[in-house]
């Protein structure tokens, strides 16, 4: 049955190395789909500008380094906060105006925003990308026996897991999270209890955007800081969110890591399909369980 596959089962060390690499990609998918899931699940906005906001996070880190001399570690906080504020301004000025309309308008608006932002950056910075070096403390690789794992990539997995689980905990297990989830179900009732729902909505959008920007800062040392870095990733991340279930936080995190692993395996056995395997899975999931693996049918 495996005879049509290009590569016979690779040796065990290479196999585990590929799984680890898949996990690293999964970390980015998880972080980004978490932001998307929060924004959609809690605010019912399909945020197509997510890829552009991820790119802005990476560029913010680059600006901080090259214009202000601020290094990687402070940038991990400053960049998401800055881009988050930009997100809040966007929500106030633009998204709030169409909040009462069909989902589709939110999609179109954020899609248009993404094109404009990307175009502006591309006009100024070209498409080849700008260099951003790995911080000194995370340079080098550690010998795990079956592969040399660049320390920075190990850090990406750890950081992503911490942030994802922290966010999940905040939404599912704290009071603030409870207010957020209640506001999704019935905004006017929650407002009647004296909770400032519009402000919560705005801050939540900002938080989702900040997550995207954080992923951008994490990505900057690995991939080129390029105006195009978000546009390819965002389509895949949308597929991940759909597979996980559009409103489910846990679904987004688990699918992100799982699909990263699956994509990693595809690269070993049939690399030509690595671009499309996630979409094939999405098509399958939609046929079998349209609400997504962890989604609740509405």
């Amino acid at each position: 049955m495996l005879s049509w596959l290009h590569v016979a089962m690779p040796p065990a060390p290479l196999f585990f190395a590929q799984l680890l690499v898949g996990l690293i990609n999964g970390s980015f998918y998880a972080l980004l789909s978490l932001g998307l899931a929060i924004i959609f699940g809690l605010l019912n906005i399909i945020n197509f500008a997510h890829g552009a906001q991820y790119m802005m996070g990476a560029f913010c880190a680059w600006f901080l380094l090259n214009w202000l001399g601020i290094g990687y570690w402070p940038a991990l906080i400053i960049a998401p906060v800055t881009v988050g504020i930009v997100g809040i301004v966007t929500e106030r000025l633009l998204l709030r105006q169409i909040a009462h309309l069909d989902h589709l308008y939110g999609l179109l608006l954020t899609f248009g925003l993404a094109l404009v932002i990307q175009g502006l950056f591309r006009q100024k910075y070209g498409s080849s990308g700008l260099p951003y070096t790995i911080p000194d403390q995370l340079q080098g690789a550690s010998n795990l026996g079956f592969m040399f794992l660049p320390i920075y990539r190990g850090w990406v997995i750890v950081a992503s897991l911490v942030v994802c689980l922290g966010t999940w905990f905040a939404i599912e297990r704290t009071r603030l999270g409870a207010y957020l989830r209640a506001a999704t179900e019935n905004a006017s009732l929650v407002q009647a209890f004296g909770i400032n729902v519009p402000r919560m909505v705005t801050l939540t959008y900002g938080a989702g955007v900040a997550l995207a920007a954080l992923a951008g800062v994490l990505a900057a040392p690995i991939y080129q800081v390029s105006p195009l870095m978000g546009s390819n990733l965002i389509i895949v991340v949308f597929a991940v969110v759909v597979i996980g279930g559009m409103g489910s936080i846990l679904g987004a995190i688990i699918s992100g890591f799982a699909l990263g692993l699956i994509e990693g395996l595809t690269k070993v056995f049939y690399p030509e399909a690595s671009n499309t395997v996630i979409f094939a899975i999405m098509a399958l999931v939609l046929l079998v369980k349209p609400a997504g693996l962890f989604g609740r049918a509405t």
Binding site: P10, P11, P13, L14, A17, Q18, V21, G22, I24, N25, R122, G126, S127, S128, G129, L130, P131, I134, A141, M147, F148, P150, Y152, R153, I222, Y223, Q224, S226, L228, M229, N232, L233, G264, K267, V268, P271, E272, S274, N275
Partner: protein
């Protein structure tokens, strides 16, 4: 009401006919069809449009008493989009020649359109040697470089220096396959061996998985049969996985100065590459490149310099033959050597390849570099006949026999 409608309809037809009359060319249009927005935008892109306009301006702006105009479009690396733009340009927009044509799959598609319409195309961006091989066309010129020259240049130099075993990371489309095939032939002809390869979709951000496979193969040389953003990502990520530290070497089979500038000398130092142009080669190249730099703020790549050179020679050919007919212009360009600031000892062959001198460069170390664009050290000049020596033999039907 009906009479008004008929009258309006006839008036519209009459006006359209009038407009159609105006289509007979009183301008000569040259089209720059490039990747303007994606991974290859910096090696051709808007810079090529600038170069083409410079050529027209330096030529005087007119030919055969008509104004020369540059039009441009973004093919987005999609052959169907490129072909339909080319068709529209040739059929309705009065474009006589198309240049740049980065991305081999697009160039091959446009070459078919040019063959049907008998129009000249001068390819300075795409690399695949199939353009002058199986897919050769009588009015197409493969101008600036091709995968044969890259294979003989970089591939030959690396294998002769001792890199005998190769693993290819290949962009999974026409260009990547072409480059891998040509380089493999050169490697094997020089006593080397290809131990494996992996096909990677175009415009991939993450090469870690493929680099791991290359590492596991234990090949001495990892040949990067890709370009632009893909090459930049491969090289950057290879540094992270300690590939060079582990004893393997990278061979960037197609590198442009825009790529090296983006990578930075710290990462790219020591890489060997083959190019037909470098801004700092001699006084002639420096003089022209300064004009380009003043307009764009970047030094030109061989694709962009090629667009200027090709456009200039095309306009000269029109003037000399007093015609815009494709085959006539090709015959004129084949009739004598082509020499300018970029093309040295150029001879246009029957299969469409412009054989000319190529250069083997090495990327400088940061210590040796005296400026942000002082990036290359010249290792050797490769005479045209050696650079374009066909590893698979002549495959163009028109040129055989």
């Amino acid at each position: 009401m009906r009479r008004v409608a008929v009258a309006a309809f006839s008036a519209a037809i009459w006006l359209l006919m009038g407009a159609a009359q105006a289509q007979t060319p009183d301008t000569i249009k040259i089209g720059v069809l490039a990747d303007m927005s994606s991974l290859y935008a910096d090696l051709g892109g808007p810079g090529s449009v600038t170069a083409a306009q410079m050529a027209v301006d330096d030529f005087g702006g007119t030919a055969l008493g008509k104004k020369v105009e540059i039009v441009s479009a973004d093919h987005q690396n999609k052959p169907d989009i490129g072909a339909s733009i080319a068709r529209q340009w040739f059929d309705t927009d009065g474009v006589q020649m198309i240049t740049d044509l980065t991305t081999s799959s697009v160039a091959l598609a446009v070459q078919e359109v040019a063959r049907q319409k008998n129009k000249v195309i001068m390819i300075t961006g795409a690399a695949s040697s199939d353009l002058t091989g199986k897919a050769c066309a009588p009015t197409a010129i493969h101008y600036a470089y091709d995968t044969t020259a890259l294979a003989n240049g970089t591939g030959g130099a690396v294998v002769r220096a001792g890199g005998k075993t190769w693993f290819f990371i290949t962009a999974d489309y026409a260009f990547g396959h072409s480059l891998q095939n040509d380089t493999s032939a050169v490697v094997e002809a020089n006593g080397g061996k290809v131990v494996g390869s992996v096909n990677v979709p175009l415009n991939t951000a993450d090469f870690s998985s493929y680099l791991l496979q290359a590492q596991a193969s234990k090949a001495q040389i990892i040949g990067l049969a890709n370009a632009g953003g893909d090459t930049i990502n491969s090289i950057k990520q290879a540094a992270e996985f300690g590939i060079v530290k582990g004893g393997q070497k990278l061979a960037g089979l197609l590198l442009f100065i825009s790529d090296v500038h983006s990578l930075g000398l710290q990462t790219a130092q020591g890489l060997e590459l083959t190019s037909s142009f470098y801004w700092d080669l001699d006084d002639q190249t420096r003089a022209w490149s300064k004009k380009f730099f003043d307009k764009t703020g970047k030094e030109p790549t061989m694709t962009q310099a090629g667009v200027y050179s090709a456009t200039t020679h095309y306009l000269e050919a029109i003037k000399a033959t007093n015609s815009i007919d494709g085959p006539t212009i090709i015959k004129y360009l084949q009739s004598k050597p082509i020499n300018d600031f970029m093309i040295r000892n150029g001879h246009l062959q029957p299969d469409g390849s412009l054989v000319h001198d190529m250069y083997l460069f090495e990327v400088k170390s940061p210590a040796d570099s005296k400026g942000p664009w002082d990036l290359y050290k010249l290792i050797a000049k490769i005479p045209g006949d050696e650079a374009y020596k066909l590893p698979h033999g002549e495959q163009c039907p028109a040129a055989k026999g």
